[in-house]
């Protein structure tokens, strides 16, 4: 309670100050309009210099302010150049504001406020809502791909999954490496629930100093999302599109004859004396193309209706959106309903109240997990159905049980998911004085997810059957809140502009998940799908299990922005964060930052040059934290897994024990970043250029590193502060706005970034941290993180060709090899090929990212072309070697495989998953570089005269295509792989790339 008194005292002081300052003389009235269009401007701040007095314009652009007859009015509005007007005894003054649409006058959203782009000393990128909603993506994040330097978006193609986003490389190894999303002040880990159409602006904070005001969660960058607000006269906007999505760049697979040929070869290698598995491969012909049986061209449509506007005292915006998206897997459907509501009211002169809310509901009919992979590996010799209508059964063919009938898997899969979510924020803003604002806000998220799965009793094939029907029901709840108070002081004293922010925040995140199952649930209609209908007997008992998490944060923060003559800029901030995830002395983290800027072009000595419209040098340093790690890493817990139950004389007794090792202390993972930037504008600011150098260090990085099996822990890893690493690089962006004539204008924006990732120290000293030892790599550790090198480099044997015959084998160090096996390099020359011959064989951390975004406007036509790519990255194509038995092969493998002396010295025999061939090696590493036409859109806007005749303000129709062209050498589905940093870039499974084609319309009334 002590703190309340302190703050109250402070408030009292400010209140007194403001009261004192507002002495009145005359009332000045007037109207503020746009200098170009003459349109009335609403909500323009009209202040009296040197005092706290001031007001805002109403819906007609009119204002009224108390001022001394000798005073000077300061008129400011976002997007317009601030004007100062001497009153000179006048009581009526009309003011025309010039648009400040130039790059340097732009206002950007920063943490807890806005700043003129000119005043920013860190690296902040802004993306307009229009650029996001223009794209066909249903997730706003994926629309950022290629738009912002240094921001890597990986769309891994897994339906429904959010894209992975890395800002300036990998900042976190364990836990969530995605940035923090702040939507209208509420914090999220993921914003897939947002309708891109409701987004006004996205600001990406890239450097540590701009991020550090969000200390606790900022280590991987911060994305600030502002949703739409009503502006101006009431407007009704309707937009819609419809189109389809299809799998593109799908690797061709071997047909049935080719498959049978390779299975024969495979089995002949392993069992030379056995008869051929398939006596006549040719009789199978093309066989089944399993991918085609489960994939389809998927239909999508989206409708959005928005009503918005503002009056002198309030603004409002209401929107409703409906998305219907078919998945590319047959039967997979997703429906999403979103509503967005925003309202604010100037209740009294000093009190403004408002809220933002998003209500979302989604419904999906799910696809079985891994189905596309099953179709990718299924045997083409097996028909989908036999002539009698029963399912083709792999068990009827001599191919083991590693593959199934994907069609049967799909047909008997029945799972529906629903999500309900309400997120929002309400606030009260109290103008204690013209320069002092107190803002209190309370927001949060209230969500529920439901999954209902039912599998009937069936028998499709020998291995695909279900003797007893199963019902699975799960509920996941999210209850989060965030409450914040900020006090902002903003004042200009002659050449000095000072903004001071002080704030407090507390947050609570609670999740709960419960899963229940029943068996032998009959089905006549959905009304039967209740757990209580299950048999729930000795043999088929109902089960229930639950889990949950709770985390809390408490934070205090402050920031000072100071500028002198718009030339010298200084920003400093400090944030203290307490997190329930850390215990004892480690609970609180402190995150300071400083930034400085020099606008060289504003110097007197630059006034006579005509080259630079803007020349600014800036530098910043900051510390940021990462609490997106699991809670209580240093608290050892008891393992009471069901498998620990003992059975004595047929009766179960529960068991429990300790099966983990935890580090004695866990520290905050911290980011420390430096950024130096140069901003330039030429040719009336038509050409802009921005360059940044950055160095971002993650200190005490939290890793899960594999530990010795002989410790006998259940997880096989220990999680703790294990390493320090850094990302260092350069970012360049350039923009050009061209105007050929009144009818034809265009813009070109390009960006390019270079990132180098390096490990600076590890707890294991000179010893590496190994990773990537999952099934994908045959259980072999395939990545290595070692001092001085990038995180998670691919590590394995180096292929030096393929053994052609027994003589070559006899002369080699691999006496157990068979012709067609990989010949590995004996790197240590000890005459044996073993683990000591492994070397770095690739780097999964992308080095180069680039994007080129172009718009052209000719009369009523507009064209958008977005190009984007990644280079300097490797992918481990684990699908090639991950074979449990008779999986299908790609056509590429068939065409190039070794199948007899002299047939190939690069591709091995069909036994690629056997012998020593499956071990992590250089053959599996491929370039992950790609280039694509990300977005192509052609629009036509009806001439306004025609639109008006149809009682509409504006009508635009368009056609768009996404991922229409992709160029890469990678042999898998998609070189965008992602993954947790010590397992990144290992492609295991089949996540296709999609191309989308849409036709749409935007109408405003």
């Amino acid at each position: 309670m002590k703190r309340i008194y302190k703050i109250s005292g402070l408030l009292l002081l400010f209140t007194f100050f403001s009261t004192f300052a507002s002495a009145q003389n005359i009332i000045v009235k007037g109207k503020v309009t746009d200098a170009k269009t003459g349109e009335a401007l609403i909500g323009v701040t009209v202040g009296v210099q040197g005092t706290s007095a001031g007001s805002q314009t109403d819906v007609n652009g009119n204002f009224s302010v108390n001022a001394a007859s000798t005073a000077t009015l300061q008129v400011s509005y976002i997007g317009y150049t601030t004007q100062t007007v001497p009153v000179s005894g006048r009581t009526n003054i009309d003011i025309k504001l010039e648009s400040s649409a130039t790059e340097l006058q732009q206002v950007v959203v920063v943490g807890y406020g806005t700043q003129r782009k000119l005043d920013v000393t860190g690296s902040v990128a802004s993306v307009k809502g229009d650029d996001i909603s223009k794209q066909a993506s249903t997730n706003a994040i994926s629309s950022l791909q290629g738009k912002v330097a240094g921001v890597q978006i990986t769309n891994n193609g897994n339906p429904g999954a959010s894209p992975e986003i890395r800002i300036r490389g990998v900042g976190t190894v364990y836990g969530n490496a995605n940035p923090l999303y702040v939507v209208d002040g509420v914090w999220f880990d993921d914003i897939s629930f947002l309708n891109p159409n409701d987004i006004e602006n996205m600001s990406i904070l890239k450097d540590a100093s701009s991020e550090s005001i969000y200390g606790v969660r900022a280590a991987n960058g911060v994305v600030l999302v502002t949703t739409k607000k009503g502006k101006g006269a009431p407007t009704i906007n309707y937009s819609a599109y419809a189109g389809w999505q299809k799998v593109t760049n799908q690797p061709a697979l071997a047909n049935a004859t080719e498959y049978a040929t390779m299975i024969n070869e495979l089995n002949k290698i392993q069992f030379p004396n056995d008869p051929l598995t398939f006596a006549d491969p040719n009789k199978f012909g093309q066989g089944t193309n399993w991918l085609n049986t489960v994939l389809r061209d998927a239909f999508t449509m989206k409708h959005d209706l928005t009503v918005s506007g503002s009056t002198d005292k309030s603004s409002y915006s209401f929107s409703a959106g409906y998305l219907k998206q078919q998945g590319v897997v047959t039967g997979n459907n997703y429906d999403r309903l979103t509503t967005h509501m925003q309202q604010d009211v100037q209740a009294t002169k000093f009190l403004k109240l408002g809220y933002n809310a998003v209500i979302q509901h989604s419904f999906s009919k799910d696809a079985p997990g891994g189905l596309i992979y099953k179709a990718f590996t299924a045997a083409p010799v097996v028909p989908v159905f036999y002539a009698d209508g029963t399912y083709g059964d792999p068990a009827d063919f001599p191919i083991g049980n590693a593959t199934n009938n994907p069609k049967a898997q799909l047909d008997f899969f029945n799972q529906r998911s629903k999500n309900y979510r309400i997120t929002g924020n309400m606030f009260a803003e109290i103008k204690l004085a013209s320069f002092l604002t107190l803002r209190s806000s309370f927001g949060g998220e209230f969500g529920e997810g439901e999954v209902l799965g039912y599998s009937p009793a069936y028998k499709a094939t020998a291995a695909q059957f279900n003797d007893n029907s199963d019902l699975n029901v799960s509920r996941a709840e999210v209850r989060n809140w965030i409450q914040e108070n900020t006090l902002t002081f903003d004042k200009t004293f002659k050449d000095h502009h000072l903004t001071v922010l002080a704030g407090q925040s507390s947050q609570r995140y609670k999740s709960y998940n419960i899963v229940a199952t029943a068996q032998n649930v009959p089905y006549t209609s959905d009304a039967d799908l209740y757990l209580r209908v299950g048999s729930n007997d000795q043999q088929f008992p109902n089960t229930v299990t639950d889990s949950g998490d709770l985390a809390t944060y408490q934070s205090y923060f402050g920031r000072i922005n100071y500028s002198f003559k718009n030339r010298y800029l200084l920003n400093a901030s400090m944030r203290a964060d307490g997190s329930s995830k850390f215990i004892g002395n480690q609970r609180w983290g402190y995150f300071p930052s400083v930034g400085a800027g020099w606008v060289i072009s504003s110097e007197p000595f630059m006034q006579n040059q005509h080259i630079f419209d803007n020349l600014k040098l800036r530098g910043s340093w900051g510390k940021i934290g990462n609490a997106s790690v699991p809670a209580n890493l240093s608290v050892q817990t008891v393992n009471n897994s069901a498998g620990f139950a003992a059975i004595y004389n047929g009766v179960a007794s529960t068991g429990a024990n300790i099966t983990t090792i935890v580090p004695p202390v866990t520290y905050w993972e911290r980011g420390v970043g430096t950024d130096i930037g140069l901003e330039m504008a030429f040719l009336n600011s038509r050409l802009t250029f921005e360059a940044d150098y950055y160095k971002k260090k993650t200190e005490q990085g939290i890793f899960a590193i594999p530990i010795l099996g002989s410790l006998g822990t259940s997880g096989g890893t220990i999680i703790g502060n294990q390493a320090t690493f850094q990302n260092e690089g350069f970012e360049f962006s350039a923009g050009w706005r061209g105007q050929i004539n009144a009818d034809f204008s265009y813009t070109v924006n390009g960006n390019f970034s270079i990132n180098n990732n390096k490990v600076l120290s590890t707890i294991t000293g000179q010893n590496p941290i190994y990773g990537g030892g999952a099934a994908a790599t045959g259980g072999q550790l395939s990545t290595r993180t070692i001092l001085g090198q990038p995180i998670g480099q691919f590590y394995g044997l180096v292929v030096d060709g393929v053994f052609q015959n027994a003589a070559e084998i006899a002369a080699s160090s691999q006496k157990d090899a068979k012709p067609g096996d990989f010949r590995y390099k004996d790197l240590n020359n000890d005459g044996a090929i073993d683990a000591k011959d492994r070397a770095v064989i690739g780097n999964p951390n992308p080095k180069y990212l680039y994007g080129l975004n172009t718009t052209l406007n000719y009369k009523e036509f507009d064209l958008t072309i977005d190009l984007q790519g990644v280079a300097g990255v490797d992918v481990y194509n684990a699908n090639k070697g991950l074979r449990y038995g008779s999986e299908n092969f790609t056509k590429d493998f068939y065409d190039n495989r070794w199948h007899g002396e002299g047939t190939s010295n690069t591709y091995p025999s069909a036994n690629i998953g056997g012998g020593n061939n499956y071990k992590p090696n250089s053959f599996f590493v491929e370039s992950g570089a790609y280039f694509r036409i990300r977005n192509l859109q052609l629009g036509y806007t009806l001439p306004s005269a025609l639109a008006t005749k149809m009682f509409m303000k504006r009508v635009r129709v368009y056609a768009s295509a996404q991922n229409i062209y992709n160029s890469f050498s990678y042999k898998g589905f998609n070189p965008e792989v992602g993954g947790s940093p010590t397992n990144a870039g290992i492609d295991n499974g089949a996540f296709p790339l999609y191309a989308t084609y849409n036709f749409g319309v935007n109408v405003s009334f």
């Binding site: 083991g400 108070n485 507390s506 809670a631 050892q636 620990f644 003992a646 410790l711 006998g712």
Partner: protein, 490 residues
């Protein structure tokens, strides 16, 4: 223009309301783990001790203890089994059959981890239970049970890998994580100490509510087997004689002794208890029977670890144990399952067989106990030790008990062994082990122990001075960063 009192009041109240929502709660940041018991609250009560001991037994059913890893490491190298299933299915398993396995094969690591996970459970009990205030007798029995299982785990490790990392307690801190290998002889000494201490405390039998726990007989029998591997024949004789005085007897019907209805019978010295438990869903984890089950239409499992021609040939003419040990393609089992004539493998393991009529929830055959030590083996160890110590009469007598049961009253088969020649009798006892214990994961290391591996497994690729042990898993060597050495030849 300002109503300053109003403004002040409003500002204060807004602020106050929002602050109260969290600011007054001092413990706002104190959040214990959700739904998980912190370990310092465990090992406090007798119930905790009981649960921890339960975990040791429960874990013995687990995949790495009973399925692929033991099949690879303890069975496929032998002449009695081969991989089975279809050729391409889990073809990596062939490396254990033809001795081309290298340190990176995953089954080695699974086997290694599985044993050490069990050892950790035992060490947790042995380190933490002594401090619990509880009935002293029960406490010492719990500790003895943990020692028995720990000895069993180390025995499996030392047979498979030779020198291994010896952990006799839970690591106190990071300095005890990375330990070098301990010499095989010292590991054996440690195993013997555990078993001696366990046998001194464990009861000869339990009441009905505790059937399945380790008994004194189990500790002595396992100790006898360990001593047999060390050729300490007097000890083998002593321990087996003690077990033979405890009232065990062979189950009359050899085939039926392996069926679920006859689990924990008079012949059972130690079995891993496996059963689908309605009261604890998810606990029925054993895939021991499933991996070896007959595939195809019957769909009893995956059809791995199948009997070889050599095993068929090993049985004496008319020995009924052949039909009880091997399911032949085309036969009808005593339980009425008709085995298809077509199918990838001519034979399957019948000792792990669970008939189609037995229902299951997760895995086929999940109710089948794993017979770790049967009284028949105690008799055969007794026979071998007696023979090695010059007591042919006792050797013949113990051997005859086993053969007589197999004979099942049919005087025309399996004549009594009568030779008193030590060499001939030894061969006969070894042969009896081969057929009596066939398909029970004993043969591979038994032949190595007998010193006949080069002769018997050599044609399959077994090489002396290398294949006595398997390689240490490569991942473990990598993670030990130089502290662990590899076995010679790998």
């Amino acid at each position: 223009m300002l109503n300053k009192n109003f403004k002040y009041a409003l500002a204060l109240s807004t602020c106050a309301v929002l602050m109260i929502s969290q600011g007054c709660k001092k413990d706002f940041l104190d959040v214990p783990p959700q739904g998980q018991l912190p370990s310092q609250e465990f090992f406090k009560t007798p119930e905790d001790a009981a649960k921890a001991v339960n975990s040791i037994y429960g874990n013995l059913r687990e995949w790495k203890q009973t399925a692929f890893a033991p099949m690879a490491v303890e069975s496929l190298g032998s002449d009695e089994t081969e991989k089975g299933s279809t050729p391409a299915d889990a073809s990596f398993m062939n490396a254990y059959d033809n001795f081309t396995v290298t340190a990176t094969d995953g089954q080695l690591e699974d086997f290694w981890k599985g044993q050490y996970q069990s050892i950790n459970l035992c060490n947790q009990v042995l380190d933490n239970v002594p401090a619990i205030a509880m009935d002293a007798n029960l406490k010492s029995r719990y500790l003895a049970e943990a020692k028995f299982v720990r000895a069993y785990n180390y025995f499996r490790l030392v047979r498979a890998f030779g020198d291994v990392v010896l952990r006799d307690h839970v690591p106190v801190d990071a300095s005890e994580y990375n330990l070098p290998r301990t010499a095989k002889a010292d590991v054996y000494a440690f195993i013997e100490k555990d078993l001696t201490e366990a046998a001194a405390v464990l009861p000869q039998s339990y009441g009905a509510a505790d059937i399945g726990r380790a008994t004194k007989g189990a500790a002595l029998a396992l100790h006898a087997k360990v001593a047999m591997y060390l050729k300490k024949w007097a000890d083998v004789l002593n321990y087996t004689n003690q077990v033979m005085g405890m009232g065990y007897s062979l189950f009359p019907d050899f085939e039926k002794s392996f069926r679920i209805a006859n689990e924990n019978n008079s012949e059972s010295v130690f079995e891993v208890q496996c059963q689908n438990l309605a009261s604890i869903p998810g606990a029925s984890t054993s895939q021991y029977s499933q991996i070896q089950g007959v595939p195809g239409n019957l769909n009893l499992g995956w059809g791995f670890n199948v009997p070889t021609d050599a095993l068929v040939a090993a049985f004496e003419p008319g020995d009924p144990r052949m039909d009880a040990t091997i399911i032949f393609r085309g036969e009808t089992t005593p339980q009425g399952d008709v085995i298809e004539l077509t199918g990838p493998n001519p034979r399957y393991n019948q000792k792990s067989y669970v008939p189609k009529s037995v229902p299951f929830t997760s895995n086929q055959g999940e109710d089948q106990n794993v017979r770790v030590i049967r009284y028949a083996e105690v008799l055969l160890m007794n026979a071998e030790a007696a023979n090695e110590t010059g007591n042919a009469a006792q050797a013949i007598a113990s051997l005859e008990v086993v053969r007589a049961r197999a004979r099942a009253g049919n005087a025309a088969i399996l004549p009594k062994v009568t030779t008193t020649d030590q060499g001939a009798l030894r061969t006969a006892i070894w042969h009896e082990r081969q057929v009596e214990l066939a398909m029970e994961f004993d043969r591979y290391f038994d032949v190595i122990r007998q010193g006949r591996a080069a002769e018997i497994f050599g044609p399959k690729g077994w090489k002396a001075n290398k294949n006595e042990v398997w390689p240490i898993p490569q991942n473990e060597i990598d993670l030990a960063t130089g502290v662990l050495t590899q076995n010679p030849g790998y």
